[in-house]
């Protein structure tokens, strides 16, 4: 669990330290470039999916279509970028939602002694469900949609954040200046937000980065199993899965979305590692 050391790390520190790990900076740049490409290029009309023209299906990369065309004759690059919006959106959605829920549960568990045990056990119980398995079950019960996938994955990853927040809260609440604030009559929610939350933002950011990456991989897995997001909204996972039947005549159909997932997930993890090392070497032990 994260110790008091992480609490001591403030935001300015990590900016400085990030630059001590050039690989993290490169990874961050790559990831930001991917986001920019996915959201800006289609919006600016640089790429477009184009209508279907089935006579132009499975054109190899190069020429008019930089990355080739898919089975419907649509521009692969254009589709890849639009699908990226959804894939990245799922990753971000899960990271945000599980962080928010995790912070709330963790703070409450850490601050209110009576709620600590039940909430901690609930966190333990939720952690016992493997991500794909729980997401599969939820999708089976509530139907496959982007919302349900985000919800399911958020439920699975919330305990990771909650655990960290709870542990940090337990430490921070005993720190002299927090006790002082309480003695001065500051209300508990105010203490939570001003003292605790500010101090644990960095480790949460690290975890959220990893969750972002895991969620993208999990979404790809669900698409492969045929129960993920509605296939009308393409994601990279869906595109790889669609490309499987063309593995012989158009390998690029799985290559490019596969690379998009791998590069995004890899760069997120390097950024996360860099952040973690920078923020607290002790944290590096954790997953």
């Amino acid at each position: 669990m994260s110790g008091p050391a992480s609490a001591a790390v403030a935001a300015p520190g990590f900016r400085k330290l990030l630059f001590q790990r050039p690989s993290s900076v490169v990874a961050l740049a790559v990831f930001l470039a991917i986001i920019a490409a996915c959201f800006l290029l289609p919006a600016l009309g640089v790429t477009e999916i184009g209508g279907m023209s089935v006579r132009n299906r499975l054109i190899a990369p190069g020429g008019d279509h930089l990355l080739g065309t898919d089975a419907f004759g649509r521009d692969l690059l254009g589709r890849l970028l639009v699908a990226g919006q959804v894939s990245l959106g799922i990753g971000l959605g899960v990271a945000l939602l599980s962080s928010a829920a995790g912070i709330l549960i963790g703070l409450v568990a850490g601050f209110f002694r009576r709620l600590d045990t039940p909430l901690s056990r609930l966190i333990d119980a939720l952690m016992a469900f493997p991500d794909i398995l729980l997401a599969l079950s939820l999708v089976a019960i509530f139907g496959g949609s982007m919302t349900n996938v985000i919800l399911a994955l958020s439920i699975v990853y919330t305990p990771r954040i909650a655990r960290i927040v709870r542990a940090s809260t337990l430490v921070i609440r005993e720190l002299p200046y927090v006790e002082a604030a309480r003695a001065l009559g500051t209300r508990t929610p105010t203490i939570m937000v001003t003292h605790v939350l500010r101090n644990i933002l960095s480790p949460i950011l690290v975890q959220a980065t990893f969750i972002f990456a895991y969620a993208m991989l999990a979404e790809a897995g669900l698409s492969f199993l045929g129960v993920g997001v509605d296939p009308r909204t393409p994601t990279w996972g869906i595109m790889v899965n669609e490309g499987r039947q063309y593995i012989d005549n158009a390998f690029f159909l799985i290559l490019f979305p596969g690379l998009a997932i791998a590069i995004s997930v890899l760069s997120l993890q390097i950024v996360g590692d860099g952040l973690r090392d920078a923020l607290d070497p002790k944290l590096a032990k954790e997953t």
Binding site: M52, V54, L58, A71, G73, D230, R232, Q245, I247, D248
Partner: protein, 502 residues
């Protein structure tokens, strides 16, 4: 891997293996698309159930390679009364069931009664059946209230089959299926394999039914739901036969020295089934708008990739079939958004979304739906494409509130009346009076040529009233190990004659 059971053991057995096509030969491994959830073909219309159970249970009649009805458990074709309502069917004698009992007319009557009560195709004609009775120890008679020409095809079909069981096991649910077929069920591990072994006391049918030589000792069906995995299994020599492969893999299979492709030309027809019960498509002008707007050739191209694998053909039966006709096909492949827009205008279309229900169980369904959506939107439709998983689709298509069009496909069936969506009782609920009148005449007529003429009228009506929307013909791809012989290409391939060529 293959034929290991016998061929591995000893020199003596190897000699047996080499003994030519009629000698006993090890195991045939067949990759199928899913687990047959029942071995009672009366209760199922799934192709995978037919493929497996045709080896185990038999029907009174069957189809030969040219799709003519021929006797199987019956000794001969039936004697049909003058008025065409009574079918007297002689039974073969000395046919043993897997449980050791011998088939007689009581077994047949009990089985046909059950078929009438529980099989979807039996229920559909139950009202026409006056009685089923034993007229001798080896003779049964079926009496109808009016002539019904498709009866024999129904009795011969392996799907919702009129299977013959021993009277003793007849119950609404049969736990342990007992048949007369050349193979009996040895073991079933759900999702893993179905193991059939030779039935040593098999009584072979007459030559018309085709040879059933029981060449393999064992036939194993392995459910492999993923297409890619089926292909890899076939190409790595794990399977002797693999059903339902993506046509995209044709070249790769053809280039392999382990396996070869089996292309079933004009295998079947993808169809946009129309909801006539509720919703937008109950308006004939909306139906005509869809019919006019669809880009049939592009849909086929997107779905099957190469003209080698499809034909842009509107006729409900392709050339070469007795049922082939051009009637009404001038309305096929119009690809005319303006005309569609006119129909929409006439219908007073208000932009209510047209709901197309499909799944990716069959990728080509989804691909056709995507191309159709674009064309329909260009014609002025607002389209809601509902892509769901197979279980949801199977559920939702039975609820007329949930869809306007759903996508399906069928092999070309030996008898048009086996196409259940032509009947107003089907889930599509096409209850057009003109069609009903033609269909009644069609099922009552027994003269083959007259039936062909009536069928042309029926096809005309399918197009005029847009009873359903046939997209075209497609070829199916299966694969077999190089050197495997004795398997006739079919939507329901049978393996009782399978053997390795020397």
């Amino acid at each position: 891997m293959t034929f290991r059971a016998t061929c591995r053991a000893s020199a003596a057995v190897i000699a047996l293996c080499a003994g030519g096509p009629l000698a006993a030969q090890g195991t045939v491994d067949v990759a199928i698309i899913g687990d047959p959830d029942t071995f009672d073909p009366m209760l199922s219309t799934k192709d995978v159930v037919s493929i497996v159970t045709q080896h185990v249970v038999e029907t009174l009649y069957t189809f030969d390679e040219g799709w003519a009805v021929v006797p199987l458990l019956a000794a001969d074709m039936p004697a049909i009364s003058e008025d065409g309502t009574t079918y007297t069917i002689p039974l073969r004698e000395g046919v043993g069931f897997h449980d050791g009992s011998t088939m007689d007319s009581a077994d047949v009557v009990a089985s046909l009664e059950r078929w009438k009560d529980v099989a979807s195709r039996g229920i559909a004609i139950a009202d026409n059946i006056v009685r089923i009775e034993a007229t001798g120890p080896h003779e049964v008679a079926i009496t109808l209230d009016e002539p019904y020409a498709p009866l024999l095809s129904l009795l011969a079909f392996s799907n919702s089959a009129a299977a013959i069981y021993p009277e003793e096991i007849i119950a609404p649910e049969i736990d342990q299926v007992v048949g007369t077929g050349p193979y009996r069920l040895q073991a079933h591990e759900p999702d893993q394999y179905v193991q059939l072994v030779r039935f040593e006391d098999y009584a072979k049918p007459g030559t018309e039914a085709g040879e059933r030589n029981q060449t393999p000792d064992e036939i194993r069906f392995v459910p492999v739901p993923d297409t890619n995995t089926r292909i890899e299994g076939l190409l790595s020599g794990q399977f002797d036969y693999a059903d339902s492969l993506s046509t995209e893999a044709y070249d790769r299979i053809a280039a392999s020295d382990v396996a070869e492709p089996v292309l079933l030309e004009a295998f079947g027809w993808p169809v946009f089934a129309v909801n006539h019960k509720k919703g937008l498509m109950t308006d004939p002008n909306i139906r005509r708008a869809v019919q006019a707007a669809l880009p049939y050739d592009d849909m086929l191209f997107a779905a099957f990739g190469d003209e080698k694998f499809f034909q842009t053909d509107g006729a409900l039966y392709p050339e070469g079939w007795a049922w082939h006709s051009d009637a009404g096909t001038e309305l096929y492949n119009l690809n005319d958004p303006e005309k569609a827009a006119e129909y929409l205008e006439q219908a007073g279309y208000d932009g209510q979304p047209l709901r197309i229900l499909t799944s990716r169980q069959y990728e080509f369904h989804y691909q056709m739906a995507e191309v159709a959506r674009m064309a329909l939107e260009m014609a002025g439709f607002s389209v809601q494409l509902d892509v769901v998983d197979w279980a949801t689709l199977a559920q939702n298509r039975d609820n007329p509130d949930l869809w306007d069009i759903h996508i399906t496909h069928s092999p070309f069936l030996p008898e048009p009346a086996l196409t259940s969506s032509l009947f107003s009782t089907a889930r599509e609920g096409w209850d057009d009076p003109a069609k009903n009148e033609i269909l009644d005449r069609f099922t009552a007529e027994t003269d083959p040529e007259a039936r062909q003429a009536i069928y042309a009228e029926l096809q005309q009506r399918v197009f005029e009233d847009v009873g359903m929307i046939k997209i075209g013909n497609f070829n199916a791809l299966q694969g077999k190990a190089r050197g495997l012989e004795g398997v006739h290409p079919s939507p329901w391939p049978a393996f009782w004659n399978a053997h390795r060529a020397e």
